[in-house]
């Protein structure tokens, strides 16, 4: 099996889906000849031509809205928004149009589109190139939201997203793009939405996270004494959430820490914390803890590692939660 990094795994998924289904087209800023600013679409232009791997004008609003139309018109657009911050201009078409297409027409029209978005910090990028807006899309009925943390998952989830009959926001943690390789099967496979991945089994405490934070959590666990048995859950799918895996784990461990890069206030950790409380109330030995970015604007990159939850902060929270 070939070893691929996240970029290569996504590229492979795109290639295979475009090969398999003529309706699949890729569009976005610089995705064509240039192969994408992260090279995720490299080679597609050459292989599938300008009709199916399409450089667009500089308008995220346009990319999103035209993709809605393409999807209504029977295509399966896979749009790239170049960086997380630039979802801003696409937000309206995604939340008010894509998300509502099916319900507005009682199912007579639908919007099978995928929006790929590099997300999150940690790569020394300029402002608005490092944000984590996933909660806004999770809080939008009609959308599905996923964020793989590793190449294997990325391929399977992206294929699921492209084949999904409803709009999917597919977040790609850019900090992981080139950070490691793992074995990714050459053949097609899908990973269903709503299924978390238990990365490590443990009995004392559950750590729940997704995206690049998975790796900060792994580091944090390494900082803990062997005697602390940590269960680590990578959600992968943010909407729908895998309530069952979360619940079963915390019923077992009695404690939980939720970690993400977005700010705390009304972030996704609050949803997960609430679910745990509701489903595991009688099992909880300590309040569910949230380790997130501070409730401040994502700073310029000199301070980004102080802003993002890091292994020290996460491990301290795990320790304190265990000591509660």
């Amino acid at each position: 099996m070939p070893k691929l990094d996240l970029v290569e795994a996504i590229n492979l998924a795109l290639t295979q889906e475009m090969e398999r289904d003529e309706r699949v087209i890729v569009l976005g800023e610089d995705v064509g000849l240039n192969g994408g600013v992260f090279r995720v679409t490299a080679g597609l232009y050459k292989r599938f031509g300008d009709d199916r791997c399409i450089d667009t004008p500089l308008s995220e609003q346009g990319i999103a809205g035209v993709s809605v139309g393409l999807a209504m018109g029977g295509m399966r657009p896979v749009a790239e928004i170049q960086f997380d911050g630039f979802l801003g201009p696409a937000y309206d078409q995604l939340t008010n149009q894509a998300a509502r297409c099916r319900s507005r027409t009682r199912g007579s029209l639908s919007c099978p589109m995928t929006v790929r978005v590099p997300v999150g910090g940690g790569i020394h990028a300029p402002e608005l190139h490092s944000t984590s807006p996933e909660a806004h899309y999770v809080h939008t009925p009609g959308l599905k939201v996923v964020m793989p943390s590793r190449p294997y998952d990325a391929k399977g989830l992206l294929i699921s997203a492209i084949r999904d009959p409803d709009p999917v926001i597919f977040f790609e943690p850019k900090r992981v793009y080139r950070s490691f390789k793992e074995e990714v099967p050459e053949e097609e496979y899908t990973i269903p939405f709503g299924k978390a991945n238990v990365l490590a089994e443990g009995t004392d405490i559950t750590v729940i996270t997704f995206g690049a934070s998975v790796f900060q959590c792994l580091e944090a666990i390494d900082l803990l004494p062997e005697s602390m048995s940590v269960e680590l859950i990578d959600l992968r799918s943010l909407s729908p959430l895998d309530e069952q895996t979360i619940t079963e784990s915390v019923r077992k461990t009695g404690r939980a820490v939720v970690v993400h890069e977005a700010p705390k206030l009304a972030g996704l950790a609050s949803e997960i914390s609430s679910i745990i409380q509701e489903n595991c109330f009688l099992y909880l030995q300590a309040p569910v803890q949230r380790v997130t970015a501070y409730d401040v604007v994502m700073p310029y990159y000199k301070l980004e590692l102080e802003y993002l939850p890091n292994a020290e902060r996460i491990s301290a929270a795990i320790r304190d939660c265990l000591a509660y």
């Binding site: 609003q61 346009g62 139309g69 018109g73 201009p89 309530e243």
Partner: protein, 386 residues
């Protein structure tokens, strides 16, 4: 040359049938046949009737806010006449009721829509139509997207996208026009310039002399037409549709018309409409001049008019009955059209009609130890307080 003209543009205005019902015969050549004109006239009368009736429904409390289409019927019926039914696709804006009807939408669905009933918004299987969108401008991006899908699949289909003058200020308009032009998609953009966006007059909407010139920004062929003149509307659309179908890309048509009513039933135009303006506009409205033309040509007379009105009345009465007598929607409808298949959390919400976790799982009730804190708990509280 250090100083030179590098760009020139000129935009035409087209009127074929004037306010008095006089036709410019050379210009009308090859446009609408007598039969077509008679047909379009009758359609307009029926839609006008629908409009009046819908207004009354709202006033009598049987429908929510309703945007009347009165005065703008010519743009809809004559542009639709330039399309090939069953082939071409329409992406209409929210006020474009006449267009929805022309494309074959059962009329009671429009009433249902404004009665707050999503069943009004279901597109019948064989219609090439997206439903109107309450987000001003949003559909101006969908039209080009759908047209692009046709182009990619090499289907010789054209999309007609409609919107008001106000919509041209939205970013979606800007992006829709630009994408359409860059990708040369078969899309016709029709702007119903009815002089107002709610209370905001066109002079406050844009400082440009025309809406037609907005298309120059995108390199899109453009024209301004008398939107109360079915011949001019038809001809301009026929040309644009042909261009689109022939691979010539998008076109823009500003149809100058007038909103003969309040913005919606929730509005009172007397607050902002200059005195005399409505009266002036009434002289230019489409039904009167089309009838004058037909009568002059002896294609129409008073008995025919009376019969038509009778027919319209009866038809609309049936439409109203259908809309009013529909069964109450199911609560489960809330859940059944959000995704193609229900995710687990929605399945639970749908079954229990609750969001609170205890309500969703009532077996938990009473499982808790009694409320009175026992010693241990009191102790904990005290510690926590300290």
């Amino acid at each position: 040359m250090p100083k030179r003209v590098i760009y020139q543009a000129s935009i035409e205005y087209l009127q074929i049938l004037d306010e008095e019902g006089n036709l410019d015969v050379p210009l009308a050549e090859g446009t609408l046949s007598d039969d077509q004109v008679r047909h379009l006239y009758q359609q307009m009368v029926i839609y006008r009737h629908f409009d009046d009736t819908a207004f009354k429904l709202q006033r009598s409390g049987r429908m929510g806010t309703f945007p009347q289409n009165k005065g703008q019927e010519a743009v809809a019926v004559a542009s639709a006449a330039a399309l090939t039914r069953g082939v071409d696709y329409v992406v209409p804006f929210y006020r474009d009721n006449a267009m929805l009807f022309e494309m074959g939408l059962p009329m009671h669905q429009v009433l249902l829509h404004w009665m707050g009933d999503e069943r009004g918004n279901e597109v019948p299987k064989n219609l090439s139509l997206s439903m109107s969108n309450l987000m001003i401008g949003a559909q101006v991006l969908h039209g080009p997207g759908i047209a692009w899908a046709f182009k990619l699949r090499k289907e010789p289909r054209v999309v007609l996208t409609t919107f008001g003058d106000g919509a041209t200020s939205e970013g979606d308009f800007h992006a829709g026009m630009n994408f359409a032009a860059v990708f040369k998609v078969p899309c016709v953009f029709t702007c119903y310039n009815n002089q107002y966006a709610i209370s905001v007059p066109r002079s406050r909407q844009t400082a440009s002399e025309t809406f037609a010139q907005k298309a120059l920004a995108y390199g899109i062929p453009t024209i301004q037409v008398d939107g109360n003149d079915i011949f001019a509307v038809y001809k301009s659309h026929k040309d644009a549709v042909e261009r689109a179908r022939g691979g010539g890309g998008p076109s823009f048509i500003e149809a100058v018309t007038y909103r003969l009513t309040d913005h919606t039933t929730a509005d009172d135009a007397r607050r902002y409409r200059p005195e005399g303006e409505l009266e002036e506009a009434l002289k230019r409205e489409p039904l009167v001049r089309t009838r004058k033309y037909l009568e002059k040509k002896k294609l129409w007379d008073a008995p025919q008019q009376a019969a038509l009105e009778e027919r319209a009345k009866k038809l609309i009465r049936e439409v109203v009955d259908t809309a009013i007598n529909i069964e109450t929607p199911q609560t489960s409808d809330l859940f059944d059209y959000v995704y193609q298949s229900l995710p687990p959390h929605l399945r639970v919400q749908r079954e229990t009609l609750r969001t609170d976790s205890i309500g969703q799982n009532p077996s938990q009730i009473g499982l808790q130890v009694p409320k009175e804190p026992d010693g241990a708990e009191l102790g904990r509280e005290r510690l926590a307080h300290s």
